[in-house]
Symmetry: D2
Subunit: 336 residues, 4 copies
C-alpha cells in the first residue's frame, strides 16, 4: 500500500500514523518527492481499511498495491480449483454445460427439458424456483414448490441441479440442491454470503451487473473467509450505455479472472445478451476465450415461458450448440 | 404498450396473441406500416410482462407507454406524500436534515454527535449498526449492540432515529427504530422489500448505485404494493466512469422524481461524493434543486472513525452547513 | 415512429402537427388509450427529426420504430458487403488479419515488422503516423514522415496498408494509403466523415469508446450518404466502470451488427483490453463470434515501443496466434 | 510516479530502467515489499509516458502520484483565472450568463432572442452556425451564413458572442467571434485543440460526454501548452445508464475542478438534461454548487426550433430564471 501525504503534514499526526502501522507489523518506508511525500507500506496490508487511512487529514491519497483478497487470490493458490459435483467437474481443464429453464413451471416442463438437455450433453440442470423480478406484479416463481419440482427432476432424470437462493431464510430448502446460485442482484448481499460461507456446498456466484471484477472477488472472499472454498464465478453481463443487448457481456473477464484467481469461471450468454438469437455466438466466443462452463436458458416453448422467454433457446438449438461446443473444445484446449 | 411485429407474422400466432390480450381486457389496435406492423394496446398494461411479449416469434420489439408502477406514480396520486415521524415531516414543502455517524461506535460517541447535530438543527439522527462492507475483513458494525446504542441515544437526546437493515431476520431489532433504511446494495433485495411492505413504519429506500430511476420506483412499488405507503426515496450517487468522486451524484433525479412520483426525495452528499470536502457544495446544490431533505455523515473525529471517515464532516462543519441551508431554504421555496 | 401525446392536447396544435406530417407523405393513425393518446406514423420517417417532434408542447414522448440509417441497413441491403483491397477481401465470409505497430518509428522498424507479420499470414499492414495522445507532452507520431515510411514498407514488403487520419487537412497525404482509419475519438467528427464520404477508398471506422452501436451505424451513414460505400466497422472496446482492462470489449456487437448491417466487422483486441496478455483469448473469441477480421498491434520490441507498447504482442506471439486463428476459422465457418 | 515491479525482475532490465530514469533527472527510490518491489520516482514525471513504462516486462503496474497537467494545475497557479471579454468577466468571483438559440436560423430570430436575453441579464450571446448532428439527414446549421448572422446580432444588439467550431478549416470564419466553443464531440480532437492553442482568444471547452475530469484537463492542457491560456471549462453531462435525462449532469465536477484547476467552470443545464423542464432546477443547483456561469438554450418558439427545441426554454422562462439566479448569487457568494 502506498500513502501519498498532503504537503507539509503535521508531524504529530504523521508520527502517530507510523506508530499505528508499526503496531500492525507493517514497516513504513518514506520517499520524499518534490511536491509530495509518499509512504510505502511493507507487510500484510490486506486487512487495512483503505478508507480509514484516506480519512486522515495528512493523507492526500491511498493506493493499494497488494490485492485485498487472499483466499481467492491465485498468488497464494497457484493451482486451479476444481469443483466436483458427483461425477461432474468444473475448472482445471474440466468444462461443464449447465442448462434448463429460467423458471420451473411444472413437473412435466422441468422433466421434459431436463431429459432433453441431458441427452444433448448438459452436465447440470438449472431451474429457478425463487425469481428476482423488477416488478412486484410479475411472476415470482413457484418458490418452495419449485424447489420440490427440481428435486423430482433430479431424481427422475439423474442430473445434479442448481437453483437460485434469494434470502437466508430459504437456506433449509436447499439441502438437496447440488449447487446454490447467488444472483447478480445479491452479489452484494453480504449477510447471505456470510451464511453461505458456513455451509458445505458449491456456490455459483454471479457478478453483479454493476460490479467490478475486484468486487466479485471480494464477494467470493466473503464466502471463502467463512470456510466454504467451493465457489464458481459467473460473468453474466455488466450494465453499460449500450441498449441493443440487455447487458454487455464482458468476455475479457475470463482471462483477467484466470490471472487473478484459481476459481472456475462460467459464462451466462442468456442473461447477458437478453436475446436467444445472440446465445450461440456468445457461447462459442466464451469457449474460445477459455471459460470453464456455460449456463444457458433452455425452454421447450420460449414464447410461452413464464419468465425471460425472450432469451431462452429451444432444446433443438441447445442440441446444435452443444455439438458445436464439443467440436470446439479439444481445439481450444490445445491453444491454452 | 406498443408491440412492433416482425415482417410477415404467422397469422395463427397473431390471432392467439390478440385473443390473449383481449382476455385481459386489453383492446388491440393495428397500424399497418410500410416495413412493419404495430399493435397499440389500450387498457391497464401495468401487469403485462414485457419480456413475455418480447419472447414471441412474431414480435420484433415491445415499447411501454404507460409507467409500470402505480402506487408510486404521481399520475394517480397528484398530491405530494408527506411522511411524519413524530413532529418531523418530510415532503410536500417540509425539509428535514438527517445527520449522524456512518457507524455507531459507543454510547459516548453516538450521544455526543446526536447532541451536537440536534443543536445545529438536525431533525433525525442516523447511525449504522449493520454495515455493508466490501471486504469481509473490514469492521462490520456493532450489529444488535449498535441498535441498542441508537435507542439509548434516541431516549437521551430526543431525536427520532434511522438505521440500516441488511436482512429480513434483523427486522425484530428495528421495532423501536423510527425509519428503516434500505441501502443501495439492497435496493434489489426483493424479499427484504416485500417484508418491509408488510410493516407499518417509514422506509428510506436508497437508489442502487447502478439502478435507473425507474428501477428505484419499481423497488418502492414492491414496498407499497405490500401495503406500506411510507417510502422516502434517496439518491446517493450512481456508478460511472468518473473517479475523482466515489460515485456521480445525479441531482437531476430530483426534478425527474418530483415529476414521476409523489414520494419525498432526500439526497446523500456524503456517500455519493465520498469526500468530506465536497459535502457542502453538493448539499447546497441539492437544496437549490428542490430536495426534501439531506442525509449527512457527521463524526466528531473523522480521522478515527471506524468506517467511512473520509466522507464524514465534523460537527462544526455540519453546524455551518446547517446554517447555510436554513438561509437558502426560504429563498428556494419561493422559486418552486 | 410512435408519438405519445400529452393528456388533453390542444386541438389546434395537434391538427397542425398532423398536417405537417401529411405534407411529408406520412400517414398518421391515432390510438386513443385510457391515459394517453398515441399517433402511429406510417411512411419514410428516417429523415424526421425526433427532437423536433419531442419539443412540441403536446408531445410527451417519441419512439422510433424504423432505424434512422438507410445505406448501412441490412433491411434494404440483405447481402453482405465485401470490401476488396487488391487481392485481399473482407466480409461475406472473407476474413483478414491486419497487423503492425501502433506507431511507425523508422524504416527499419516498419519493414522488419511488416515482413514478419506478412510471413505469419497478415493480409494488411497497420501503422500509425498521426497519433491521438491524451497528453500534449506524449509522442504525437512521425506525421507526414510516418506516412512516407508506410508507403516505403508497402513497396518493399508488398502488403496493402492502413493508417489513421486525424484531420481533413491530412487527406492529401493519404492518396496512396489503401484503407483510411478513423479512430475512436473521431467517430463523431462529422466534418471529417463528410469529407471521407466524397473519396473513393475503403474507410475503417472505429466505434467511439462511448458510442452506441446505433451511433456507430449513423457515423457509417455519414460516409455512405456522401457516396462512399466502402466502410469497415471496428469494435475496439467501450468505456465502462471496469478497470482491469483499458476498455470493455463488446463482442456481442458482432452478432448485433451482423443483424443490423451488411458491412464487415473487424475486432481490435489490442486497444480494447490494453494488455498484450489478453490479446490471444480475445482474438480467438472474436473469431468464434463471427468477426470478419482482426486488427492487432505487433511490435518487435514492445518494451521500447514509442507508444502503446503495453498492448503490443511480439512477432512470435503473432505468428502463434495467427496459426491458431487459421486452425479455428474453418470450424467456425461451418457453424454460421 | 510509483512503479510496481513483477516478482523477480530481470536485473539487467531493472538497471537499464533505472539508468534511463536517472538520465531524465528522476531519482529512483526502492521499497522492497514482501510480495512485490516498488520504485518511487522523485522529479518531474509529467512528461513520462505511463504506457511506455507499463509495457516493460519487469513492470506489473504504474501509478501516477503527480497530475499529468501543469498549465491547468492549481498547484502551480493558485489564483483563479479570470477571463475577460470586453467588460464581461468569468471566474474569480465573476459570474456570467450565456444564452441564445441552439442554432442560428435567421437575422430576425437571432436578433429577437439576443435582445430579449440581453434585457433579462445575459452577458454573452450563444448561437450555433456549425451543428454536430448524429444523423447526416438532420439540419446541419447555416454554417458560414450563420456566423455572419451572429456577427450582425453582435453589432445590432451589442452582446459579445460565442459559437462552436467543428474543424480547423473553419477557423478564419471565427476572427470576430469573441469566444470559440469546442463541443463535447470534439474534446478529443487534438489537432483542433493544438490549432486553438496558437490563437489569442478565449476557448470554451466542453467536457466530452464520456470524458473523465482528468481528460478534460488534459484537453485544456493541449490548448494551454500551445500558448493560449484563456480556457473556460464547461460541464454538459456525461453518458450513464440513466435514460430519463439525455445525460447525467455531474455537478460534483464543480468543486472537483475548483480544487484541481484555476480555470473557470461553466454549466450547461440544457444539453445535459435534454429537457426544458429540468433547466431551472439544474441552473439553480449549479449556482449553489459554485459555478462561474451558465450556458442556456433559449428560443422564442421552441416547438419550431430547427434543432434541439426540446431542451430550449422560452425568453419568458429565461427572464424568470435569470431573476432567480441574481437573487441567489449574493447569498451563495457569502458561503464560499
Amino acid at each position: 500500500m502506498i500513502i501519498v501525504l498532503e504537503q507539509n503534514p503535521e508531524e504529530k499526526q504523521l508520527d502517530s500514523l507510523k506508530q499505528w502501522l508499526n503496531s500492525m507489523d507493517i514497516n513504513v518506508q518514506t520517499i520524499e518527492g518534490i511536491h509530495s511525500t509518499v509512504l510505502g507500506l511493507v507487510g500484510d496490508t490486506s486487512t487495512i481499511d483503505i478508507e480509514f487511512i484516506g480519512a486522515l487529514d495528512i493523507v492526500a491519497d491511498v493506493k493499494r498495491i497488494q490485492e485485498p483478497y487472499k483466499q481467492a487470490n491465485r498468488r497464494f493458490h497457484p493451482l486451479d480449483t476444481i469443483i466436483s459435483i458427483g461425477d461432474v467437474k468444473i475448472g482445471g481443464g474440466n468444462f461443464a454445460m449447465i442448462a434448463g429453464p429460467c423458471a420451473v413451471e411444472s413437473h412435466e416442463q422441468i422433466c421434459m427439458i431436463a431429459s432433453s438437455v441431458k441427452s444433448s450433453g448438459a452436465a447440470i440442470l438449472r431451474g429457478g424456483a425463487f425469481k428476482p423480478r423488477t416488478s412486484p406484479y410479475a411472476f415470482q416463481g413457484l418458490r418452495a414448490d419449485g424447489i420440490e419440482l427440481m428435486l423430482e427432476a433430479k431424481k427422475e432424470i439423474g442430473l445434479p441441479i442448481i437453483s437460485e437462493i434469494m434470502d437466508i431464510s430459504q437456506l433449509p430448502l436447499f439441502d438437496n440442491i447440488d449447487i446454490i446460485q447467488v444472483g447478480a442482484r445479491n452479489m452484494h448481499n453480504f449477510e447471505l454470503l456470510k451464511a453461505l460461507g458456513k455451509i458445505n456446498k458449491p456456490v455459483l456466484l454471479k457478478r453483479g451487473f454493476s460490479a467490478t471484477i475486484q468486487e466479485l472477488l471480494m464477494s467470493a472472499e466473503y464466502i471463502m473467509a467463512g470456510g466454504n472454498e467451493e465457489v464458481i464465478l459467473c460473468e453474466r453481463g455488466i450494465r453499460t450505455f449500450e441498449t441493443t443487448t440487455r447487458n454487455t457481456l464482458d468476455l475479457a473477464s475470463i482471462p483477467v479472472l484466470k490471472e487473478l484467481t484459481h476459481l472456475p469461471v462460467v459464462i451466462d450468454p442468456s442473461h447477458s445478451t437478453g436475446y436467444a438469437k445472440y446465445v450461440k455466438s456468445m457461447s462459442l466466443a466464451a469457449v474460445a476465450a477459455g471459460a470453464d462452463g456455460l449456463i444457458i436458458e433452455v425452454h421447450n416453448d420460449p414464447a410461452n415461458a413464464m419468465c425471460d422467454g425472450q432469451q431462452s433457446i429451444t432444446p433443438e438449438a441447445f442440441s446444435e450448440l452443444s455439438a458445436h461446443v464439443n467440436e470446439l473444445l479439444p481445439i481450444i484446449n490445445k491453444f491454452y
